[in-house]
Amino acid sequence: MTALLEMRGISKAYGSVQANAGIDLTVTAGSIIGLLGENGSGKSTLMKILFGMVRPDQGAIIFKDAELAPGSPRESLRAGIGMIHQHFTLVNAMTVADNVMLALGDAGFWLDRNGVAERITQLSRSYGLGIDPDTVVENLPLGARQRVEIVKALMRGADLLVLDEPTSILSPPEIEGLIGVMRKLKADGRAIIFITHKLGEVLSVCDEVVVLRDGKVSGRTPVAGATRQGLAHMMVGRTLAEPPQRASRAPGPERLVARNLSARDSAGLARLQDASFSLRGGEVLALAGIDGNGQQELCDTLAGLFPALAGTILLDGTDVTGWSSKARLTAGLAYIPADRSDTSLVQSMSVADNLALRDVAEEPFSRFGWLDAAGARTLVEQRTRQFGVRMAGSDAAIGTLSGGNQQKVVLAREIGREPGVLIAFQPTWGLDPGATRFVVDTILALRDRGGAVLYISSELDEVLSVGDRIGVICEGRIAGITDRADVDIVRLGLLMAGAHSQAAAA
């Protein structure tokens, strides 16, 4: 069979980061290619280049035997490439037919609602999509909305569909349904690039797997004969560095314990499922995991910002499950959220105000309800000096500081209080190597002073270099916690790719 799509030697650099380095990808008509890779391995960049949203530095895209003009989404659409994003591009208040008409765009002056509805019904019947053109989108479950996106792409004449982590928001029966639809599309001669983190899905539906790592193809293999272990190794495979040497210390007392935590998001989807762990003083428990597997909910639930549906949280032996975030903070639980731009810092406020953010009602920031700028100044100066914050002055808006200095302000606030327990969620996200080093060292210094640290990151290397014990969070479950010395990298990869749930389901 001839190639429908050929991407040849695609390269793209963002500054000093080589997002794609000479990637070749071939897709034949009537096949499903699984595209695997950790966060930051270059999948999104490659797909953005394919769809014309990003112009590659080098390389060519040949689609249906013709070279595709780079950097033109319109061109890619017209050629027949359809992309189903993780986040839907639907107008919720409109019907399915209206949404499809919006996507068709150049439909002339008069709307042909009946004609469009007719074609939607036909497509829905032939692929088993179960879509009624007259339903209002907001009344549809997420799985059906995704099928509306597929209908949109098909109506535009897409011969190649890119599905970007389509199963991450679906319940198991909906995933089954989607896989059925994918098989029918394939039987009809269309090709699919299926981006996912879940090895089980890859093995059940794909013909070939391409694995990216650090912007390069680290492996490609036909699915027939591939094993989970092999795929996991291609995904995370690396020579494991020696565990960092540190003076052996007796494990401290148990500081933070989570037992069978469960939580749901506002859409009712389970985000945490029976998550349990125990954390002692003087150690870092580092959790690896693909983004969006319940990390945010775990941190927020522990910090008291998100309600737990079930389960218990013990802080120094006290049940704090029902406590407010403020009470937990006072009891010694500090929290560095992942989002610096709008959660842990307020960009329009000054450095001093941001240092006071969570403690404004306490001395020295205020006395008897009145802000005490003079009293706070000593502390602000001491903390910013101690954590090496470079700024024009403590009155400068935090938004004028570099990312690294912003994060130092967060550290100054959260670690400066000498907490018994620290939750650090992606604390080095978006920082340059120097600032990353500083953040990690500061957190490890807290650990050496006897603090307990829960460190969560989607950067596997960071997890491996920071953690005294390593675990994985996947689909809201915590699994495979082991000592750093006993880490089995392939097993870690399997757990990150959902081996836990698939083992449970099998």
Binding site: L345, V346, D353, V360
Partner: protein, 347 residues
Amino acid sequence: MTVAAIMPRSPWRGGLAWRVIQSVVWSLVITGILILMAGKNPLVAYQHIVLGAFGSWDRVIVGLNKAAPYMLAGVGVALCFRGNVANMGSEGQIAMGGLAASIVALIGAGALGGLVLPAAIVAGILGGAAWAAIAAAINLWRGVHEVLVTLMMNFIAWLIVAEFLHGPLGEMDAGFPQTPMFDNAAWLPKLVARTDLHIGIVLAVLAAIAAHGVLWHTVIGFRWRLAGASDRASHYAGVSRARSVLGLMITSGVLSGIAGSIEVLGVHYRLIEGFSLGFGFNAIAIALLATLKPLWVIPAALFFAFLETGALSMQRQIGIPSSLVLVIQGLSLIFVLCAVGRGGRKV
């Protein structure tokens, strides 16, 4: 969109105060062109506005009395908008405050002796605060958007006032929906003896100064500013949205309630249908003109008030309709919003 996002940077040059003054000047220039097109001399028109506003002590006093309720309500709105609470309900809070003060002034006359005036003001405060608290509660616990609740409750408040005036409180044979005149003891004291200038303007300036102090120098004000800047950061900092919304709305209700009270107790000495018509909406415009700074509400409210008294006089003198003032007010507001407005940046 956050309400405070109405007020960030813009490509206009110069300090904020300078930009506001420029905006006002531009609105006067454009209105001048409109007057010219209507065949009148704009300089003469403006001269009569100034004379009407400041031509005599009596005129100044009328303007100051008018500015007082604008200032009080404007400060409340400015605080709410700062805290990202889009409170459109000052209008209704003023009406309910005036109604409550009037009821106490009428019923308590004699029985309360000299205490009838403070009792009436307290009633006005409670009336305005309660009306705001109901709106806040509906917003917080029934999830109805605050703009919708507060706006709709204005109409209810007007109708309740009308109902009282056409029913139990109405003056017999007056031919107009109003209450009988209050007892002397319930009249707001004069600031200057033998003039109409009541103490309202002093209360209003003090309120603006106090609001400034609370906003910038107290823990509560810090939390309000935080609530206005970021929902997520507030949540992370343990600031409850319910508490800041309730606090801000009740503060606005208290200030609007005082505004309604001084209007009935200090100007009309009775409750009249429509006594506060448009006050609350003007307060919103004034708060925006003041770029949500409580202290700047003082000049903004004076500007609106003197413009209105001046225009009425201009209409009497040279026949240019006083509704021209609406054009000036509207244009200066649009210019201010453009001058300090988005420019593509977050707060």
